[in-house]
Amino acid sequence: MSQAKVPAWVNVALIPLLNILLAFLVSGLVILAIGENPIEAAGYLIYGAFGYDEGIGYTLYYATNLIFTGLAVSVAFKGGLFNIGGEGQAYIGGLGVGLICLSLDHTMPLYVIAPLAVIGAAVFGAAWGYIPAYLQARRGSHIVITTIMFNFIASSLMVYLIVNWLKEDGRMAPNSRTFEENAWLPYLHELFSPLGINIGDSPLNLSFIWALLCCVFVWGLVWHTRWGYQLRTLGTNPTAARYAGIDTAKVTIWAMLISGGLAGFVGLNEIMGVNHNLLLNFTAGYGFAGIAVALMGRNNPIGIILAAILFGALYQGGAELAFELPTITPEIVVVIQGLVILFSGALEHMFKDRIEGFFIRRAVA
């Protein structure tokens, strides 16, 4: 009721912006504390991320992974589920991509392998999300704990598979053989150069376009289908959802299948797009970063794209920053990420009540 009197822009823009500014302010203080100038650091960061073609390419390449995991977290969030297992789902999704590429790259052309790899990533990622979802929906175990456990199980499984089965014969390095070139997703700079557009060499590849398509898909699915309505009802009020006759267990399981599948697409970008072989730990924390992206993007596809580009810029700019200012490590980006989760996630009510109160009082007066 009181909600009605608060202008929409306050909740959509003002409060999120305030939370993020606070996160950046504290990050600036951290940089100040280690004896560097935060303004100068921000300058290097922005130049590194957006100042030249390759930098932009890298920024968008990192953003690709973050869009996938951000969408994964937000689809689950919409249904009131906390999928903390994006890391494991992405890892197993990469296994799916790798197996398709390894088995078909000698015989099939790219236009056969690529769709199969997309399916492989989705199916493997979804399968890894399915078990925790089933256990939550049918046996009442808590999804947060089971997805955490599944991250560790995924990690051990991948070590076992790669070291014992997929490793290249006679090599020490724990990764599979490099795929033939017809199983490589084309880089965007290669696609654009025949058109006379030069965008600088970077790992940015076709999966970025796929990530954008996934955003459209999620937007349509969550806001414009009957299932999406059920999902949002479940997330807002599970009791009401049950009374309305929604099969909540089924919605829960499907939400996690889609979430896991989306997270699995990280494998598409990393395995098929950039590394071209199956290797250990390629997920590098993107699953957890997806939580920050989803929180900052307010679980909205447009917001997630913006948040993913911002975090991609932090990853890329952070590398540049560490190069320019030797006392700063790229891990400063992880600190900023954590602060964003803290201020726009855990402390989201800190300003909200006061600011809303201010606008309500003003509307009454």
Binding site: F82, S156, E331
Partner: protein, 322 residues
Amino acid sequence: MFETLILMLDATMRVSTPLIFAALAGLFSERAGIVDIGLEGKILGSAFAAAAAASVFGSAWIGLCFGIVASICLAMIHGFACITHRGDHIVSGVAINTIVAGLTVTLSMYWFGMGGQTPALVGDARFLDITFPFADAIASVPVIGPIYSNLLSGHNILVYLAFAMVPVTYWVIYKTRFGLRLRAVGENPHAVDTAGISVAFIRYRALIICGILCGLAGAYLSTAHNAGFLKDMSAGKGYMALAALIFGKWRPVPVLLACLLFGFLDAVAVRMQGVEIPGIGQVPVQAIEVLPYVLTVLLLAGFIGKAIGPKAIGRPYVKERA
């Protein structure tokens, strides 16, 4: 065979110690209704603070104090978000883990410039092993000798402290007024509030205890078990402690047994590397390493017993107003 068993149990005690501290820390927090995913971050933060302070001041005890203070600070951030501002417990825990993972490396680069490590700790900067009286004299006695002088004797003080914390926790949780209120806050905060007791104050105190215990776990890792801080050295111990807490169904003694079981599995995994078992062949190390997580999932799924947590866990308490 007996020798091997003693060696493995000895390793079990060393590996279990941080798990016991952290799982008991989680027990205090979760019995009071606060979900603590942030155990991992608190252990890592304390490990760094303890190693850094120990190397600067040359004393393991000063290091331990710094570790505990760092861990309590993190617990208070968690409390500020979850108790005062009714934030999501899981989100807050993830935030703490992420911040600490980045901050420890950033600060250690700034202070020590050694690629995210602290300098190696020597002498008094580490907790050294304690040898029990007559350990050497009895060592040659069969059965009792190896048990006394190899298994029980020869650990550092924190190992013994961890085992001592189990009865202490039992006593605090089940036999004191504070423990009764703490459990009540985790089950039915409204009842506690009606009795005129502050829910928030009890939860904050539970988190301070949680911080102290995580601080001990972290200091053990960097100043007793290892000689210095390494990047990401907690390596999932906080999550495994969380698993042990659930596996032990939020009760001190079963939690201890769960920690020992997980520690033992770790010792087995190390021991089994490349060993052929007749009839089965080589068991992959990873298969043993994942057992704690698989067992916890099976338990949660109700396939082996049933894990029912505190009722009000993870829900913010909002005081009713007239």
